[in-house]
Subunit: 199 residues, 2 copies
DNA sequence: CCTACCGATCGGTAGG
DNA sequence: CCTACCGATCGGTAGG
């Protein structure tokens, strides 16, 4: 194993990472369909056939971007082991952090809307992703209910669905005018209206 | 004034209307950037320079579609003269009706996400539209508060913002999987949690 | 990773 | 409203 070979692999990984970063930004700016492999490649500093050496087609690049983001976020924030009110609170914290990285918010906002088209290459990805998100939040509200802290008359499943929808809608308003809105504050106020005070 | 001339104008208006309908569907399906004037023209049954005779450029067609929709909706549902809880209830009715015309839901969902890009031709339109929608719903909640029917501790302005966000987010989920979700029912349940029963 | 190329498609214009 | 065309750009491949 020569240093050259090791460095070669390291360079390849770094290049691949750079491509994913620029593709993330580009897909967020103009969506998948309007994004151009040539433009992404230029930002990376290579030719567009060079990019296609790392990702064999545009679709593969899109799916790699989405999977990579899911990996990063679940590593970094690992909400899986949380439950109930604690889970919901951590989701609000994640939204607050997302307000510091508009590129990620753009990516999900623009792609999820584009992917409502049934023939979109990320359609299945987003259908599955939403099912998971809604179920996860519904579980949070069910936990709150079990702890006697969900306001009476609230259906936990409907609340989970609405909570996810609220996050998405806030992202659109925030991206349109970033100064007019504190996403996490609206979510906190919403939770405060649904959750009975701990005493 | 010959019949021929009158019919000529009538034909022109009908054609213009047909173009707006097909453009609405197309922009909803793939967004503005990915939509093609040739494809829209083919659906109408004319050539694409023929289409450009009615609308001088792609941008003009987009703005005409958006303005036309606003006209139709405000004529048909005229929410302007309503206030307070009555206004909020009529918005829920409008959402229920929108569930019967997915093309319109698609149009706003896809274009609003695409138009978060500051250089998008519909950016200013959506910034203004959201400011109006949020203010209108906030007014509804202020009216409820004045009537003593807003749950204590709820801020009417935050509730207005959240209500608009909730509608938008529900649209994404509904377009991704139309059988899994009753948008109007979730909105009604949300209102029921915010508004004190009338007695 | 590159240059060079393919066929397809784009918005818009010329000229009628 | 049409045909015919413009320059630009697209995703992907050949061949090295």
């Amino acid at each position: 194993m020569s240093d050259v070979l090791v460095r070669g692999y390291a360079n390849g990984r770094a290049r691949r990472q750079l491509i994913l970063d620029e593709a993330t930004a580009m897909f967020g700016e103009v969506g998948y369909r309007a994004a151009s492999l040539r433009e992404i490649a230029t930002r990376v500093g290579i030719s567009h056939p060079g990019l296609l050496h790392h990702f064999p087609a545009k679709q593969a690049l899109l799916l790699a971007v989405l999977e990579h983001r899911d990996e990063i976020d679940s590593e970094q924030f690992g909400l899986d082991h949380l439950q109930g009110i604690e889970l919901l609170g951590h989701i609000v914290d994640l939204v607050a952090f997302n307000a510091t990285r508009p590129g990620i918010v753009e990516l999900y906002c623009v792609l999820s809307a584009e992917a409502t088209a049934p023939d979109h290459p990320a359609h299945a990805f987003f259908v599955q992703r939403y099912a998971r998100s809604v179920e996860s939040c519904a579980g949070g509200f069910r936990g709150a209910q079990a702890a006697g802290r969900l306001r009476p008359g609230i259906d936990p499943d409907a609340a989970g669905r609405a909570f996810v929808a609220l996050m998405d809608g806030l992202q659109v308003q925030w991206l349109l005018d970033r100064d007019s809105l504190d996403m996490a504050a609206v979510l906190r106020a919403t939770l405060a209206a649904l959750i009975v005070t701990d005493d």
